[in-house]
């Protein structure tokens, strides 16, 4: 039906008929009458919060009137509505101070994605075949209600599981309250590249189970162990702002920056000094530096309370002499001495750890070692050092997905009868040995709230698509990235484009209709819940995108080490595969654009050249250029990468910025099902990872797999380079 006919039909059938056919009259009219505050051609700015990672950057959304084609009750028509046009950082927000990263700038494509799920769906084909048929919201909600009622009447409320991406703020509160009042266990949070090891280590070293806020802007010496803090780790926008300050923000003073990692990341590319180190030995290097600092009398060992977590600390770390450390890490003893003295003598100095060093079996030791080094030079809780965002809600304990999967596979009756899935994709993001897909397939009924069909939501029986972040109330409490107390909140920036409903409101609506109502009752709406959480500040907070303290706050309790913890000693990292059979360390890394793969569906990010390789739309593997020459490998050659778990075929990029015994590959590609832009593109490094774990947290040790490399073809050509870079050297077509 075209526009003219649409208007004719609505005119003929008359207001009453159309109103009766589609719910609330106000909502209905708003779709046909232009929004009053919008003047054509004039932009208004509305606050929002970036949903793409846990940093929680504040946004402002440029909204202008436009015409959108929507489907309502099976009728297609054009309507006038306010449309988001551009996202910018919220200048008032303490975390990102008016800036957004490469991913945040592309977040608008989540809302306008052509493959977004536009309304509730019910599975119509085999499970996992991703065949669905549209149903009405009434049917969909009745289905969810009856699933919950059936379990409640069988007194089996415990068999409801809520599997989600990390939730913060009131969303977390609401989901937790819903589950606990129903009688189900707490939500299971899943992140492919989570920071559990570091949070746990910070709880032990500093009594804070949260990620640190690194005060780069006031630091004069930064040594980072594997943390890609300018690209993908922790709160990248804050960290980039601080980085600019530490380089050129203070006249006459320029901080030094050293990066320790076997494959140079985008962050490492900015370092004054790059220190390639044997994978899994980063903590030893940190203690080597501490050894020199203590031995040279630059600081007494007792100045680091976090040092109590390390065995042999109070005795001056005798087993970590530069000569010993050189043997383990491959970093020259003279270099260790020099770095240690620079680090101790240039105050304030700070050490950062994150990423691959913590994704080894000894990741906890590495994190504690770097924490102890920070304690030694007095950078904990001090300007230019490691700070902690005050009043951040500590991370909630949550069972890890491998345990959930193992229980599902071994139990005769699946311990989970109903799975509620919120935008988490463990089928893509876990190693094959955890058998997550097989395990989830045993669950009798799966309900997904996600916007897209991905590898995990393809298993769903019922899909209740959530609004996009621009269409719903959003809130967030940042865990790091600021020393102010921050709670972000924002109303919808635009009306929903599709027949979606906000996940919190769906839970609230279902909770009211259950046969056994939840007690005490939950709020009427998510907006009401936010309003009562913010109290008198609500009106102001939602206008500026949140509320925050006027100035940085000193924490009430200084960061101190947890008592009664067993001190940790260095153990060699355990790798899957012998060095003889599998000579290379396989070190995947988070993609600057696609992160762990959760953003592979956004075309701007797919066509964004990787800053190191300049590749777009593809997978590749980086190999040391001298090693490649020895093996007769040139750029674009197809390599077979084999681990004990499987093989991948992927083109090579020889690079001098990677150690000879390491190959590196970005996470992100290799989706089997994830919209037209990501499906069937490239390969997924997680699919050949072994199921090694860091024992204390159970986190996947994703850098602990060894592989062998064979050249299987030449110039396969599937890597696409940005114009002006590699392509210039190609012969003219």
């Amino acid at each position: 039906m075209d526009r003219r006919n649409f208007i004719k039909v609505t005119a003929v059938t008359g207001a009453s008929a159309t109103l009766a056919s589609c719910g609330s009259p106000e909502l209905h009219l708003a779709r046909f009458i232009p929004e009053e505050e919008l003047i054509p051609g004039i932009a208004t700015w509305k606050p929002s919060i970036c949903p793409l990672c846990s940093a929680g950057c504040g946004m402002i959304v440029r909204v202008m009137q436009g015409e959108a084609e929507v489907v309502r009750n099976g009728e297609k028509g054009l309507i006038q509505m306010g449309l988001a046009k551009k996202l910018e950082g919220n200048p008032a927000h303490p975390v990102n101070q008016g800036k957004l990263c490469v991913r945040g700038q592309a977040a608008i494509q989540v809302t306008y994605h052509p493959d977004r799920i536009t309304g509730p769906l019910k599975r119509s084909g085999e499970r996992g075949a991703a065949q669905f048929q549209p149903i009405s919201w009434d049917q969909a909600l009745a289905e969810l209600k009856s699933q919950l009622d059936t379990l409640a009447s069988a007194n089996d409320q415990k068999s409801v599981a809520f599997l989600t991406k990390p939730l913060r703020g009131q969303r977390h509160t609401l989901v937790s309250q819903f589950l606990s009042r129903f009688g189900a266990p707490a939500p299971i949070e899943f992140e492919a590249l989570g920071d559990r090891v570091l949070r746990r280590a910070n709880a032990r070293s500093f009594g804070r189970e949260q990620l640190p806020t690194v005060d780069l802007g006031r630091s004069r010496y930064v040594i980072a162990f594997g943390a890609d803090f300018l690209g993908t780790w922790n709160s990248p926008v804050t960290q980039n702002i601080g980085y600019g300050e530490m380089r050129q923000g203070h006249p006459g003073i320029r901080a030094k920056f050293v990066q320790v990692e076997p494959r140079m990341s985008q962050t490492g590319a900015n370092a004054d000094e790059w220190v390639p180190v044997k994978p899994g030995t980063e903590g030893v290097l940190a203690l080597g530096l501490a050894h020199v600092i203590i031995k040279s009398g630059l600081r007494p060992a007792g100045s680091s309370r976090a040092g109590a977590q390390i065995e042999g600390w109070s005795a001056g770390l005798v087993s970590y002499s530069p000569a010993d450390v050189e043997k383990i890490t491959g970093v020259k003893a003279t270099r260790i001495e020099r770095l240690a003295k620079e680090f101790a003598q240039t105050a304030p100095a700070v050490a950062i750890v994150g990423g691959a060093p913590l994704a080894h079996t000894n990741g906890m030791f590495t994190a504690l070692a770097v924490n102890a080094l920070n304690g030694l030079v007095g950078s904990v809780g001090q300007p230019g050092g490691i700070l902690f965002t005050p009043n951040a809600v500590p991370a909630q304990p949550s069972p890890s997905i491998d345990k959930v999967a193992a229980d599902l596979i071994t139990a005769p009756k699946p311990p989970v009868q109903l799975l509620l899935l919120n935008d988490a994709n463990p089928v893509f993001g876990t190693p094959p040995a955890w058998r997550v897909k097989e395990a989830l397939s045993k669950i009798p009924f799966i309900v997904s709230f996600g916007h897209f069909i991905d590898e995990t939501s393809a298993l769903a029986d019922l899909i209740l698509p959530d609004h996009s972040f621009l269409e719903s109330w959003v809130d967030h409490v940042p865990e790091s990235g600021t020393t102010m107390t921050v709670a972000s909140v924002a109303p919808p920036a635009m009306k929903p484009l599709h027949q979606t409903r906000s996940m919190p409101d769906v839970l609230l609506e279902v909770s009211r209709s259950l046969a056994r109502p939840l007690t005490p009752t939950l709020p009427q709406s998510y907006e009401e819940m936010l309003q009562s959480a913010f109290g008198d500040d609500f009106s102001n907070a939602q206008q500026q995108g949140g509320r925050w303290s006027d100035s940085p706050q000193r924490e009430a309790v200084p960061p101190v080490a947890a008592a009664n913890q067993r001190a940790v000693a260095y153990t060699d990292p355990q790798f899957d595969g012998s060095a003889a059979e599998y000579p290379f360390h396989f070190v995947p890394f988070a993609s600057l654009t696609l992160l762990d793969g959760s953003l592979a569906h956004l075309p701007w990010l797919q066509e964004m050249p990787d800053p190191i390789s300049t590749a777009m739309w593809s997978s590749w593997v980086e190999i040391n250029s001298q090693k490649a020459a020895e093996m007769g490998i040139v750029q674009g050659d197809l390599l077979e990468i084999a681990s004990s778990q499987g093989t991948l075929r992927v083109p090579a990029i020889p690079s001098p910025a990677i150690a000879p015994d390491v190959i590196a590959m970005p996470f992100g590609q290799g989706h089997q099902t994830f919209t037209r832009f990501a499906t069937g593109r490239g390969v997924n490094p997680i699919s050949i990872l072994a199921a090694k774990q860091e024992p204390e947290t159970g986190s996947l040790a994703w850098a602990a797999t060894r592989v062998k490399v064979t050249k299987v073809g030449s110039k396969s050509g599937p890597i696409l380079f940005a114009r002006g870079m590699e392509l210039e050297h190609r012969p003219h077509r």
Binding site: L87, G98, L230, Q248, W274, E342, P603, P609
Partner: protein
């Protein structure tokens, strides 16, 4: 006083984070061309991050450089255009009038910064991705050359606002999309005719130089060199 728009890029701040590149796509309705076209070198990035790798393992240094139209005063793209689509404005911008352009691509041949992009096909936004399009920027069709405009739509809107409020433009008030989002504050935009503007002060920096300066195009973007840590003997 006429404005003369210019930019300073502090390479000591730039981290290669690429936020500017997506910001530019979002602001200026730059289409993605897809993998097949991108493989032939037709991906459009008005602004790109160039990276230079120096040295061999383990002594490797990488440098990033954001490269966009240098808005040259003696621009090689302008005199070669037979239709005056590529021309110089009073405020020193190398402007492109899309509906004069009929696609000779002489300008792209003449430009040695490689910052002009030709639309080989009509752009495609799978619905409803088109709803994001910025109504202040025209969408270019097949056969038309396009390039960085210093977000001229923002410059014009800022001038109109200032005029309505009967005041002069303030330094730092106008920000192209790349500058607004630049996370490390490496990009600074402003009026080179105002000697006290931030961009003028940075452009006089001893670290400053122009890209391919000896080609004589007199670009209006100054790159401030990355500083080197002096005590870096790799013991």
């Amino acid at each position: 006083m006429t404005h003369r728009w210019g930019m300073a890029v502090d390479l000591d701040r730039c981290t290669g984070c690429s936020a500017c590149v997506t910001a530019c796509h979002a602001e200026n309705n730059i289409p993605t061309v897809g993998p097949a076209e991108a493989a032939t070198g037709r991906a459009m990035h008005w602004l790109r991050i160039e990276r230079y790798v120096e040295g061999e393992f383990p002594d490797v240094q990488v440098k990033f450089r954001p490269v966009l139209c240098q808005q040259c005063d003696q621009a090689p793209c302008e005199p070669v255009c037979p239709t005056y689509a590529s021309h110089h404005t009073d405020e020193g911008l190398n402007a492109q009038v899309y509906n004069r352009c009929f696609g000779t691509r002489y300008c792209a041949n003449a430009c040695f910064y490689n910052v002009r992009f030709f639309n080989f096909y009509n752009p495609v936004w799978d619905k409803p991705l088109h709803l994001q399009l910025n109504p202040d920027v025209s969408v270019r069709e097949a056969g038309v050359m396009e390039k960085c405009t210093f977000c001229v739509q923002r410059i014009n809107a800022g001038k109109i606002d200032a005029k309505a409020e009967q005041r002069e433009l303030k330094d730092g008030e106008l920000k192209p999309a790349c500058v607004q989002t630049c996370t490390a504050n490496a990009l600074v935009f402003g009026d080179l005719n105002d000697p006290e503007s931030a961009v003028s002060r940075l452009s006089r920096s001893a670290r400053g130089s122009k890209l391919l300066e000896d080609m004589g195009a007199q670009p209006k973007i100054t790159y401030l060199q990355k500083e080197v840590w002096h005590d870096s003997s790799n013991g």
